[in-house]
Each structure stands twice: as C-alpha cells, then as structure tokens.
C-alpha cells in the first residue's frame, strides 16, 4: 500500500539546501556551510528534505526530529534566518522557484552539533516560573469545578510544544540572557489564568519584580511571528503585565515606563523621551539616574537630546479626544 500514498502527483521537486554545520570535536569546534541537493515530492516539508539528506547523502548531519506532525517540538531550526518547525514548513513555500534555502541551528541557545542545540537554556527558563499547578486546596474526591471557557482559554498556552522557536528569535535574549524568555512567560500565564491555581498573586509579583521578568520584553513581535502553534507569547506577556498592574504591582520601572508613556502622549500628543527615561528610572532612584547621565550627555554632544520641555503636537487635542473615546468605551 505504500504506492497508494503517492496520490495523484508523481513529479518531484529539486531542493537546494545550504546547511550550517558545527563539529565540536574538530580541534575545539569548527563551523562551516555545506550544500546539499535532493529531489523530493513537491508537497514535502523542509524536514522531508533534511531527512533525505541525512539518509541518502550524509549520515554525519545531526538534527532532531520525531513526530513529523508538529506536535513533539523536536525540529525547530532557522530557515532563511527565521526559526521554524521544519516538519510543518513546506519546501515549496520557502523556495517557490527552487531558490537555495539556508538552514541553521536555532539562536540564543548553545549548539551541540550541526542543527542540534542544547535544551538546557530553554528548560532553565521554564523552571524559573515554577511551572506546575499550585492549588490552595485539593478536592478530596472528584475534580476541580471550573468553567469550560476557562479551560479553553488555557489551550492557547497548552498548545505550546516547547520547540524553542520563540526563544531562538527573541531579540531581548540576544542581548540579555537573563530574560526569562517568551516560552516561560507564556507558561507562567497558563498558571496565572488557571482558576485552580492558588498562587496567582505571588506568581504575578515574582514575574513583575524579578530581574529579567515580564517587563523586559520589548514587544518586537518576533515570538508571535515565529511560534508555530499560535501561542503568541508576546500577547501572553502583555496580559501578564496588565494582570500584574491590576494586582497592585505598580512600583516598577516597567509600570512607570507604561504610565509615563501614556501620560506624555495624552498630554502632548507625542512622546516626551527625556521624561520617559526619568520616569521609568524613578525620580528618587539616584543610582539608576546616574546610569542615565552619560547617555544624556553623549546625546547632548551630538545634538540629539530631546527637548526638556517638548512642544505639543499640533493636533494634540485630537489625540486627547481619542484617549477619551477609548477610555469611555472601556468604562
């Protein structure tokens, strides 16, 4: 019956791959690019192409894959510079006209060999959010009572298969390895939103206060873009922020930043960047303000320091109207 699998289309597609290789054993580590060409069925995935390479061309190529059905999370890697689950990425979509595709290991994680990255970074981030249900009470028998809507809501995060694509392409992790990261924060959200969990306030406070916590996300949207399972980690992070503020966590640079941004645009119709920096740091936070001083001086020398008393935007009244109409709606 294998023949029946072929369906109607029998033609093949020529795929040209350029794979970033890494061999740690070769005198302290050697990186190089290697090109491969394979013929596969036109409906095939990038993973199919890589398996063809591994099985028929080059048994030394190391990569992870298991389910081939986008549920095990093994095969995250960069395709043309962006993290993808290659089992659900069709080759024809990446190179519709037979263009060469580049395959690299995921970013922000240590490479073990070729396309295999260490899982340690990813799971160390996950462990930071105490990723298990911490209920106040356990029913003596039967189950917790919860609405179906509250459970379906959590599906967003439970769809996460821990493939690491969001961590790979996170622009914050690129410069700050202490950031808890998008996947772990989405995981944390799964507990703060779970009506059965009894540690919501503690969790929010921890994620709010912690260095590298929820306020370190710069909202670049990369994780939303690359997540193959629709978890949209950044959206979850924004919901965490809102929940943290509502729970009374307002004495943080993150909250001050948000508040200053909001007030400045409301008042002037534009952003007062100087004030934003000072507000975020906190007017009484001398060490942090001193940190900012050299940046301010350097900016002044280059004539790039924003005005200390910014002009109002011409149509700032319209902006204010917008605020009022939106706030009116949400009341």
């Amino acid at each position: 019956m294998p023949d029946a699998k072929q369906g109607t289309k029998q033609e093949t597609m020529h795929v040209n791959l350029k794979v970033k290789r890494y061999d740690p054993a070769d005198s302290g580590g050697k990186t190089w690019w290697q090109e491969y060409e394979v013929d596969i069925h036109p409906d095939s995935t990038v993973l199919d192409a890589l398996i063809e390479v591994r099985e028929q061309n080059d048994g030394t190529l190391a990569m992870r894959c298991a389910c081939r059905a986008s549920i095990c999370g093994s095969c995250g890697m960069k395709v043309n510079g962006s993290a993808k689950l290659v089992c659900k990425t069709r080759a024809i979509d990446v190179s519709p006209n037979g263009e060469q595709m580049t395959i690299e290991p995921m970013g922000n994680q240590h490479v073990v060999k070729d396309l295999v990255v260490s899982l340690d970074t990813f799971f160390a981030q996950i462990k930071r959010v105490e990723p298990f249900l911490q209920p106040d009470h356990v029913p003596a028998q039967g189950e917790y009572i919860a609405s179906n809507a509250s459970m379906e809501n959590l599906l967003t995060s439970m769809n996460c298969i821990m493939c690491g694509c969001c961590v790979s392409d996170c622009t914050v992790l690129e410069v700050d390895s202490n950031f808890i990261g998008p996947a772990a924060l989405a995981k944390a959200w799964r507990f703060t939103e779970d009506p059965r969990d009894g540690k919501r306030d503690e969790r929010l406070k921890m994620l709010n206060d912690e260095d590298g916590g929820m306020w370190d996300c710069t909202r670049c949207m990369k994780c939303v873009d690359v997540c193959p399972k629709g978890v949209a980690p950044m959206d979850r992070i924004m919901e965490l922020r809102e929940a943290a503020i509502q729970a009374g966590n307002t004495n943080t640079p993150g909250y001050h930043h948000t508040e200053s941004f909001y007030n400045s645009v409301k008042k002037n119709g534009r952003l007062d960047e100087t004030r934003l920096a000072i507000d975020s740091a906190g007017w009484t936070n001398l060490p942090r303000l001193l940190d900012l001083a050299p940046i301010g001086i350097a900016a002044m020398r280059k004539g790039k320091l924003p005005p200390l008393f910014p002009h109002k935007a011409e149509d700032h009244k319209k902006v204010k109207d917008l605020y009022e109409s939106v706030e009116g709606e949400s009341k």
Partner: protein, 560 residues
C-alpha cells in the same frame, strides 16, 4: 557511577506516571530516555482518554465489556477489570495535577463519544489530549525534581543470574557509554510503529524496549496484532483523530455513500478500528475510493465547532494538504498506528525476569487483545504505569546491594565499536525501508498465508544484510547515525516476533484478519501467542501459546 533504586526507560506517559509513583513512595528514581520527555510519542495521542466515572453513574463493567468486545475477546479479562475499575480515579488524578480537560455546563469534566462504545466516556483536551497530559506530567516531574537522563540511549539490559540489575547506555551528547545500576527497571519505551512503512508513529518508535526485553528472555505476546488506524491523512500518513468521528464526522466513498452502513449499521463510523479500517480498504480495493483514499467529511459540524473541538486536525489538514475541513472533506486511508502486542506482563507490570517491569505501548498486559479501542491507550499508560511503580517499589525492598558487574559495559563498548569499524556497506535507511515496506505489504489490514510468507521471506533477506550495513558517522557527539543502526537491530527483532505470531495464528481475530481463514476460531485459538528469541528455533523465534483469561464475559460473535 550511576545507581538508582528504580530506573525507568522512557519519559512518555507510562514512564512519567511510574516515576511520580516511585517518587511518592520515597524511593530513588531516574528516567532515562533517548529524547527529552516532552518529545515522547505520547504527544501524538489526540482524541482522549477513556474512563467510566462511577461517581456519576457510568459503570466500569460497561467499559470493561466494550474493551473486551473491541479486543475480539483476546484481552485477559482480569487485566481489563483492573484497568476499567481504576480508570476513573486515574483520570481524576490527572485533572487534579492540572490537565485542562474539557468541561460540561456544570464545570465538571465533559466527554465525547469514541469508537466501539455506546457511552460517551472519553475525556479530552481539544485534539491534543496526549500532549496536554504529557506536559502536565512533565510539570509534575519538575515539581518533584525528577532525575532524567535526557538523550541517553539504552543499548542493553544488565541481567545477572536471571535478574535485571540495570542498563548499559550511551549518552548521545558526549558519546560516552555508562553502566546505570538499578534494583528494578521499568520499561516504558513505547511502541514499534517504524517496523512498518508508512506509519503514523514518530520516527523514534523503533521498538527499543520490546527488543531489549526480548533479548533478555522475556516473551513478546500477540505481536501479530497490529492496529491500522482508519483515518490517516492522504500521502503524509499523519494521524487524524478518531475524535473527528466521535464528534460526528462521516466516512464517504467516491459516490458519497456512508459505506459503514454495510458493515456496522448500528455503530456506523464508530465501530471498532479494525472493522472500520477493513471497510475502508474494501472500498478502496473494490474501486470505490479516490486515489487510494476514502473521505472524512466534517463539513456539517461547522467551522466554529471544528476550530474549538478539533483545532489540531484543522491545523494539520490546512498545513499539510491545504484543505479547509469546514469546506471540503479530507482524503484519508488506513495506516499502521499501534501495536497491541508487546512485552508480556502481569497486572502489576512484572515480567518473567525478576526486577524487570513494563508498561505502556511496549507492554502487553493484555488489555487490548486483538484490537485496541481508541482512547484506551492513554488509560493503559497511566493505570499500568502507576501499578508498575507501586510494585517495583515493593520488589526493591527485597533486593540487597547493587550489582557490581562490569562485563556488560565492556562487551557493549566492543559491540558498538565493531559496528562503527565496519567497512562501507549498505545504508541503514535502505535496509530499514526494505524491512518496513515488506512488513506493511505482508502484514497489512488484510493478510493471508502467501502475504505473510512473503513478509517472512523479505525479512530473512533483510536479516541476511544486517551484517553488511555500515555507519557513516564515526564521531562521538550526537551520533544519531550510530543510533539508527542500533534501532534497526531492535526493529528487526520486533519484526521477527510479528511475523512469527502472524504465521502461527490460524484464524481471523481483531486486527489479524486473514482472507484465507476468515472466521474466528475460539475452540483452537482463544489463545495468546508468545514469542521467545531462540537461536535454535526456526527463524530464531520459538512460539508458544497460553490461554486467554476469561472472568465474566463468554466470547460471542462481535457485531457493531
């Protein structure tokens, strides 16, 4: 030096559930797995987990009987009684750990219908039930600080004076080999789907656990019982959950007829899997299919329902075939999915080798007999995973110090080195492909003497080439090439047992449907087949049989 009271091979549902139990009992436990636990194939279970919740009026005997009927009366009824009566608590416990099961209006767990059962008793999380449970058990493993040997590949069980004393394993990241000593070992290493091609199974399902036990002298039972799932996606072979039909989807032939009317007028699309797969294959073979497929039609369920309850299926259908299930039926065909057979255990997971337990798909308790009901596999993993843990802890109380043996490590190092040192020969993938396609051809949805002998001939040809394949990668770090060679050796052991079992059973029962002997024969074959690895026997397999345990349900003709 690595030592544990209990070592669990495999980090899927059975393995993690066993690990939770052993940890609770206060014993020192570790899990060893060739993949990170959340990569395990338990992920792939979509539709749900069965449980008769007696606290709301369902009776466990009803579930037990449906299971036994589904098994075509080959399941051991004492084992099924254990599974069915413990099912409710097993599922409720998963909920209390944090699984986000779907709910009813009252906020209690809700159910969906599944095949082979008239009562809707399948608990579920969308169409990602396996993944949702696996991730919660992984959460629990983090909570408990479970020790996991991630990406370590077991090459041999250490058996000393007939007792299991640990394993020899290779740490894939470093390439170093180690002995891990244990007072008890629980095999929870999953199924052997890749013995067949195509298969819905992950590429990691290579029968490692079955073969390791088989080599240690444990019989593999009823290995001829291979489940072909009725709905695998055309061309890709990706699983499309039974939940689709549970929620009301139709199966149509090329003329748009619901052909299940002919074979299962009462249960229709929700007859047991072997029955539906045969009906589909008959449509396809008799020219009423479409390019080797039939159609799975969900259009009448509506887009919002499909997206809420069967979201993963819609995702797969759109991503892989470009078909929107709300607009168009999806082409599907039967595909190899599950192996009912496995390591023979008692209801406590114990094998005939003291210190060696088994649970989950690699084990055969037997609760699935000749055909497993959908959503009973997850149940099997948690019920018998837990029981194996309980009994392994009891067992180790009678075990003294760890073994001191060193011989197995040296001999395994030599064996692997010899494999690496082979001169250039055939590629592993070539040999594996020939084996797996031959197995599907000969041991398919339908089989007969000639097809099974064809499978044997093909397998013997493959075995004659096993000394001639070579490993291209000579490096140490993450040498999957070497692992694929070792996995192929495991798969060939499983294939041996499958073919031997199939050729032995002279009747049609459940998934073992012979077109040359179409009737079930309770007089001669209400029996298990037991395959032992034995160099002296024909084709290296000695086959024995044992009686099926009947408690309260006398076999009757199976009608759906």
């Amino acid at each position: 030096m690595y030592e544990h009271d209990v070592l669990i091979i495999g980090g899927g549902l059975a393995g993690l559930r066993a690990a939770v139990e052993v940890t609770r009992a206060g014993a020192d436990v570790a899990v060893i797995s060739k993949v990170h636990p959340v990569r395990s194939h338990s992920n792939a279970a979509q539709g749900g987990i069965n449980a008769p919740l007696t606290d709301r009026g369902d009776d466990w005997e009803g579930h037990a009987y449906d299971t036994i009927k589904g098994s075509d009366f080959l399941a051991d009824q004492d084992a099924v009684e254990v599974m069915s009566s413990e099912a409710g608590e097993a599922v409720l416990e998963l909920e209390r750990m944090g699984v986000i099961f779907s709910r009813g209006e009252d906020g209690k767990l809700g159910t969906r219908a599944f095949g082979g059962q008239k009562v809707a008793r399948t608990f579920f999380v969308g169409a990602i039930t396996g993944s949702a449970i696996l991730h919660v058990l992984f959460e629990q493993s983090l909570k408990l600080g479970l020790n996991v040997y991630e990406e370590w590949f077991v090459t041999k069980l250490i058996i000393e004076d007939g007792v299991c004393r640990g394993v020899v394993a290779i740490d894939l990241k470093s390439g170093e080999m180690h002995t891990i000593r244990a007072k008890a070992v629980i095999m929870a290493a999953g199924g052997a789907g890749r013995v067949f091609e195509p298969s819905t199974n992950a590429l990691i399902c290579t029968g490692d656990g079955l073969s390791l036990a088989y080599r240690a002298g444990v019989p593999l039972m009823d290995m001829e019982m291979i489940q072909y799932h009725p709905t695998t996606l055309a061309r890709t072979g990706i699983l499309m959950s039974e939940a689709a039909r549970g929620e009301g989807a139709y199966l149509l032939n090329a003329s748009g007829e619901r052909f299940m009317e002919k074979t299962a007028p009462d249960y229709m699309e929700l007859a047991s899997r072997d029955v539906v797969s045969r009906a589909e294959q008959t449509e396809i073979d008799e020219g009423r299919g479409i390019d080797g497929n039939v159609l799975l039609d969900l259009r009448h369920l509506g887009r919002s329902f499909i997206e809420a309850k069967l979201g993963y299926l819609q995702e797969v259908s759109v991503e892989f075939l470009g078909i929107d299930m709300a607009e168009q039926p999806v082409p599907v065909q039967p595909g190899m999915h599950y192996i009912m057979g496995g390591i023979k255990t008692d209801v406590n997971g114990a094998t005939n080798v003291p210190g060696l337990y088994a649970a989950g798909e690699c084990a055969n308790v037997s609760v699935h007999g000749a055909n497993r009901l959908g959503a009973n596999s997850l149940l099997d993993t948690v019920v018998f995973g837990r029981r194996s843990g309980v009994h392994a802890v009891e067992y180790i109380k009678g075990v003294g110090a760890h073994s001191k043996t060193e011989g197995d490590l040296a001999s395994e190092k030599a064996r692997l080195q010899a494999l690496l040192d082979r001169p250039k020969g055939e590629r592993v993938a070539t040999v594996r492909g020939d084996m797996a396609r031959g197995m599907t051809k000969g041991i398919g949805v339908f089989r007969d003497q000639a097809s099974m002998e064809g499978a044997l001939e093909n397998l013997n040809n493959v075995k004659s080439r096993m000394g001639g394949f070579s490993i291209e990668n000579k490096g140490k770090v993450f040498n999957t090439d070497l692992m694929f060679g070792l996995e192929l050796e495991f798969m060939v052991d499983c294939a041996d047992a499958v073919v031997a079992g199939a050729l032995t059973r002279k009747e049609s029962r459940g998934a073992h449907f012979r077109t040359d002997i179409t009737e079930r024969d309770d007089k001669n074959w209400l029996k298990h087949t037991l395959m032992y690895q034995d160099d002296e026997a024909d084709n290296g397999v000695r086959v024995e049989t044992s009686d099926v345990k009947i408690t309260q349900w006398e076999p009757v003709k199976r009608v759906y």
